[in-house]
């Protein structure tokens, strides 16, 4: 299954250019030869398609608007600084500082990325540069399947397999950042691997051949020629993998321990932005609910920012 393959900006060069685009004097000629009814029909269809395309924009705007509107009372009820810089979270005492959850999200994401990204990039290099047709026929579907497994199943696997092992080795209940790292790193492998492989495949064969012709070994070619050429694409892939890790909800919720406290050790339970929202939402009201929507708005902004970074990177890459 496609992970949320957040998608690299597409090149328009593949689209068949219209006569009207290539030759100015034909701008209107496209529809001159057909009847008026057909002209109207064609225009109406164009409008319909356009409206459908706008739905995506509308969706994003609505999501942000509705989440943000529910979060706005936060400024009055909690105070923005108390919210974003507060280190205490206690529903009973009406303290809603989200710093512990931001730290939790960062710890979980960075760790998962540190394990998952190298694994994914090496897998992508293997698929694109080393594997023969047979190995590729096995490994690529495996990576795609890994992307298709629902996050709740990953969480289930974490609860029943990884957590007991961690508990036996390190003591404690087994729920905490370390467990989350192991499970999340597997979860982000397909996202990063598939996107990195796209980036590697788009490197022209010619520069590899040139490298081999100079007497370089396959690894020298990969390390000194292919990797630098695909650098931006791979960084993009890692950023999008990071987005997936930050936004991951169910698996993290099930294995991270969900204690609203500051990060204190790899096996001590913590909580992340996503898991805390799910935990609290069921019975929340008033300022509590506002705080949860504030956290959702924060998550939304983070994921938008990551997409924006990727777009800007790809853009500079194309211009360079």
């Amino acid at each position: 299954m496609a992970p949320r393959l957040p998608l690299r900006q597409q090149d328009d060069s593949l689209r068949a250019p219209d006569l009207a685009e290539t030759t100015p004097q034909y701008k209107k000629a496209e529809l001159i030869m057909v009847s008026r009814a057909t002209q109207i029909k064609e225009r109406a269809l164009l409008l319909l398609f356009f409206l459908c395309a706008i739905v995506a924009v509308l969706g994003v705007v609505l999501i942000f608007a509705f989440v943000a509107v529910k979060a706005v009372p936060l400024f009055k009820e909690i105070g923005f600084l108390n919210f974003i810089a507060g280190t205490k979270w206690s529903v009973a005492k009406e303290q809603f500082g989200v710093v512990p959850f931001i730290v939790g999200s960062v710890v979980v994401t960075v760790g998962a990325l540190a394990i998952g990204a190298p694994l994914a990039i090496l897998t992508a290099l293997f698929l694109s540069e080393v594997a023969g047709p047979k190995a590729r026929a096995v490994i690529r579907p495996a990576v795609e399947l890994l992307a298709g497994i629902p996050s709740v199943v990953y969480g289930f696997f974490g609860v029943t397999v990884v957590a007991p092992i961690i508990s036996r080795v390190f003591g404690g209940a087994g729920f905490g950042p370390l467990t989350a790292w192991i499970v999340l790193s597997i979860m982000i492998v397909p996202t990063i691997a598939m996107l990195s492989e796209d980036a590697l495949d788009s490197i022209p064969m010619g520069i590899r051949e040139a490298s081999f012709a100079m007497g370089a070994t396959p690894w020298q070619t990969i390390y000194k020629v292919v990797l630098p050429a695909a650098k931006i694409g791979i960084i993009d892939a890692a950023i999008l993998g990071m987005g997936r890790a930050i936004g991951e909800t169910m698996a993290v919720l099930m294995i991270v321990g969900n204690a609203p406290q500051m990060f204190a050790g790899l096996t001590k339970p913590i909580s992340t932005l996503t898991s805390q929202i799910v935990l609290g939402m069921g019975y929340s009201s008033g300022a509590f609910r506002t705080a949860l929507f504030g956290m959702a708005a924060l998550l939304f902004l983070i994921s938008m920012a990551l997409v924006l970074i990727v777009r800007l990177l790809s853009h500079t890459d194309r211009e360079a």
Binding site: M1, R4, L7, Q10, D12, R15, A16, E21, M33, V34, T38, E42, F49, F50, C52, A53, A56, V57, G59, V60, I63, K70, L119, L122, T123, L125, F126, E129, V130, P141, A142, V143, L145, G148, I149, P150, S151, V152, V153, G155, F156, F157, V159, T160, V189, A193, T217, P218, W219, Y223, G247, T249, M250, M254, M281, A296, S303, M304, V307, R311
Partner: protein
């Protein structure tokens, strides 16, 4: 390293002093060559290991769920209702709820997403609007599922008064699937060779005739592949349906009924930990459906690749 070339040197000795001289000069080079080859083999070995770990993780998860879940699966497990606090019995209503909500979401998302992709691939001229639409689609694809769930709760469930229902969940899921289907369709349309379009235009077809009768049929296998994959994602989605469809065990009839999906059921069972056999069984059912859909997508893709 010297031993490595011992044989060659022996042979050179027989050839005479001149050849010996030459060999001495290149020995440093040969040593370097050897180191390079060593580094190369080591690095490629690491790549093999990385790919192996990835595959091993997949096999481990699938085998684990399969071995533990297989004993629970039976016709009774699939076709009966859960009962009691420990959810003994089957998962029938959760299967129906999942199928219901996924089908409804597909009905909503598919036309919009496919037509939007047609616009982006065939009609739109590159410009600010297209950039905005693409950025929106990318953002939509990366919205964390819990944010989508809260949005569904705030917008469809509360603001539009749909209550916790199949319809509210389907609308939220449709928003989630929209960018996936859009991307797959756009790529499929862009992969259609130009000369086919030109042939159609050359016969006097209008743009819509060309798109609907020539381009779309050609792109159809890849579009269907995208649809199947998006469906798999919707079936496995938990956080979104949790907040828009609820967790009441219910057999939905109208789109305004609530229900509990298989993914939510698995979550509840796994967290409560009171009925692990049912949890393993549900996980296995979920995996079978998703792996089945993935295989279907592969099958479609391979079958049509052969034809062309």
């Amino acid at each position: 390293m010297r031993e490595y070339f011992a044989e060659d040197r022996e042979r050179l000795k027989e050839l005479g002093p001149k050849a010996m001289d030459k060999a001495a000069r290149t020995e440093a080079q040969q040593g370097r060559r050897f180191r390079e080859r060593l580094a190369n083999n080591a690095a490629l070995g690491v790549l093999w290991v990385a790919a192996g770990i990835t595959v091993a993780a997949l096999v481990l998860i699938i085998l684990y769920v399969l071995i533990n879940g297989a004993p629970s699966i039976s016709p009774k497990f699939i076709f009966t209702w859960p009962h009691g606090v420990t959810a003994q019995g089957g998962i029938w209503p959760t299967i129906i709820s999942t199928v219901y909500v996924t089908g409804l979401a597909m009905l909503i998302a598919t036309p919009v997403a496919v037509l939007a992709a047609v616009y982006l691939a065939e009609y739109a001229r590159q410009g600010r609007i297209v950039t905005i639409i693409r950025f929106a689609a990318d953002s939509l694809a990366s919205v964390p599922s819990i944010v989508m769930g809260l949005f569904g709760l705030a917008f469809f469930v509360e603001a539009m008064h749909l209550k916790m229902s199949m319809l509210a969940a389907a609308l939220s899921l449709a928003l989630l699937m929209l960018p996936i289907i859009m991307r797959a369709t756009e790529e499929a349309i862009r992969a259609v060779p130009r000369y086919i379009r030109w042939g159609s235009y050359g016969l006097g077809a209008t743009k819509w005739q060309t798109v609907s009768k020539v381009v779309m049929p050609w792109a159809m296998p890849r579009i269907i592949t995208g649809l199947v994959l998006a469906m798999g994602r919707a079936i496995g989605e938990t956080a979104v349906v949790f907040y828009t469809m609820g967790m009441a065990i219910n057999l939905p009839l109208t789109p305004l009924d609530s229900g509990r999906s298989m993914a939510v059921h698995l979550y509840m069972l796994a967290v409560d930990g009171i009925n692990m056999p049912a949890a393993y069984g549900t996980a296995l059912m979920l995996m079978i459906v998703i792996l089945g859909l993935n295989s279907l997508a592969h099958f479609i893709q391979r079958r049509y690749r052969k034809v062309r």
